[in-house]
Symmetry: C2
Subunit: 166 residues, 2 copies
Amino acid sequence: MPADTTAPDSEQLDLVFERLVALPPEAIWRAWTTPTLITQWFTPAPRETIACEIDLRPGGRFYSVMRSPEGQTFPNEGCYLLVEPSKRLVWTNALGPDFRPATGSPDGLIITVEITLTAEGNGTRYHAVARHATEAARQAHAAMGFQEGWGKALDQLIALMTRQQG
Amino acid sequence: MPADTTAPDSEQLDLVFERLVALPPEAIWRAWTTPTLITQWFTPAPRETIACEIDLRPGGRFYSVMRSPEGQTFPNEGCYLLVEPSKRLVWTNALGPDFRPATGSPDGLIITVEITLTAEGNGTRYHAVARHATEAARQAHAAMGFQEGWGKALDQLIALMTRQQG
């Protein structure tokens, strides 16, 4: 059975990032689902993503390791929930591989992320939502710099995929 | 993209309940996915399930309310992950509706449950797995009476659906 349409975003519990991007949905999808591309854009500099593993199916693993400029590493274990190529990608770190409940996350942040890609003109409407359990979790995530961080990461994705297209 | 085959069960982290049942997979599936049936079998007597809501799709709500003989009520909020009619049903209470991270559960137990139904002879191989984040969580669930509870609930399911078939 297919998943229903996307749920409406909640002002109290969700953080939303949206931008019109001059890339086709397929290029953004590739950037989000290819480990060797993820390591090149996923984390705003000067932090970097130094490892990534992807098993692209509901219940499959989405693993990445972030490294700070000081050399600290932060492994992140997640699980894909919905995989609709070039349209919608949903994953969470509340679960690990095979939907197993997770033990936590390095920064204490537990989220479900939904990326929706919609062709618009010659580009893509890029809509990202981070869903939280509580208003306090949403506020903590906002204070960690959600908007700026997702903006910088998307800038890096666009630069990378524009070079790849050219 | 379809989900992959079922993951192997983990001896350290999973609790497994299995039985050969003299009902077709379709009858067991109906019992698991129909609110007016769930309220008749889901909770071992003398406890009972007094309410149930089901939105049967990945990301859809699986809500039930259990009542103790003393009249205490325990609402349980969950989310479906995989819905393969008469074959496989996966849900978790680590997430709520729309895959939103959950705030907890009334008894502190966070699990992902996978029910697999396989036709065998004139009946069904009923395989249920509860996946936990840690060995401690698995042990706590076992101490709560997992095997006995799931056995009694399945007895109730069989009695109910045998009457319905007759």
